[in-house]
Amino acid sequence: MTPDIQRPLPDRNPISAPFWERADQRVLALPWCKKCDQTHFPPSPRCPYCLHDAFEWRPVSGRATLVSWVVFHRAYWDGVAAELPYNVCQVELEEGPRLISNLVGAAKEAPRHGMALKVTFTDRYPDITLPVFDAA
């Protein structure tokens, strides 16, 4: 725990809450359309492929590849100022959708486009359990 760092908290609305409730339990999950069985992200009120409005949230493998990353040297929220510089990455999940996340461990030390990653969860922040990625 790093109490002096406060990440912005998610907007837990009826559409996004299933993602965050599972993240709280250290599970990374995506919504699959109950009609066309395709998955999308971020969570939406209707399936962007067939417009059906019911989804099954299923855990994903946690395997991903690194697409890109940046390192913030400027804080847009006061709560992250003590964390500078911090990285943000873009990963492609094995199941298809991409996620914006953070790199930890070996992936943080030596990121490379296309490297294999696996999800892990960080308790670094007092108010939230965040899915982040380390080298596979």
């Binding site: 990440r7 890109s68 940046v70 390192v71 400027r74 929220w77 991409r98 953070n102």
Partner: protein, 373 residues
Amino acid sequence: MIDKSISGKYAVVGVGQSAYGKFPEKDDFHLAADAFADALDDCGLEKDKIDGLAVCRLPHYGRMAEILGIQPRWTLQVPPHGRMSGVSIVEALAALDAGYTDYVVLLYANIGRSRRVQYGGEESPGFWDPWGFTSMGAIHAMMFREHMERYGTTTRQLAEVPVAFRRHAVMNPAAVMREAFSIDDHENARMICDPLRLLDYCLINDGAVCLILTSLERARDLKKKPVVVAGVGAQDALVNYSYPQHDFWYEPLTKVADQVYGMAGIGHDDVDSLMVYDNFSPTVLFSLEGLGFCKRGEAGAFVEGGTLGLGGKLPANTDGGHLSNSYMQGWALNVEAVRQVRGECGERQVPGCETVQYVAATPCTRSIIYRAA
């Protein structure tokens, strides 16, 4: 398909701007009124003839019209996004062609500097906030890192973009930033969002821009040499809008290129100067690849050695662009395009300039080719 027959039928007849800088004593309506007066003076049009109004980043079309004393029969207000400059001009052409308006005025104003707009954080909440991801600059940094990894593009190559545009701003008395810098200066600038540094970021300044358009026929009665719209191209990329654009807008740009060059009946070699949306310097590289000025992945090498500078192969953003002239979100680049075709740019004039292309690689990608009538 956009009807190609509009090529050459409509002209920009008046262009104007306010001063650029920091003006806490003026509101956005005030700056827009300054730009409007400047544009009206530029073309000599009687104000009462104006019957169309489009506003962008202004708080309200109604109050704007009241301040200017104009009574439109066609009115449009678009969101305060840079992509909306090209969108507005294309919509104005459609409205002119449909007869909804005969003389249309387009106004943009920005007071972000004096009001300390941050362009990220709590101003623009999003799904990725818990991971600390915010701001358009970070989105472009993410795309450029991917470009570096996939194609070997370097930050020294990237530096060619802001270095060239700053040299142009030095020659533009109205520009906000007029002190030249080198590639080494760029490499040593303060990091904002690695791999992008301060000098890769657009300015944040106050100002306003005005364009007045009408038919070529009506344009011939006005003061200045008409500059016609020879071609337009439009393609959005809104699927996966929550993510940095995975292909650097390559596909939408290729579609826009086919349309805009096809309608204008010209090729890349006919473009005397390029006005390219430079919110962040990587956007310029992405635009060059997607439009086909160079091969995919080769924009870094293409811009090396001053390609984009006056006297180079493809002089671009001769006013200094968003990086050094003024953050007028595409609007001022369209004004500069018109002035270049008119031959009004003084020290920064591209010799023999007849054809100028505007492009904005964004989720709503637009390109416009301007030509002497």
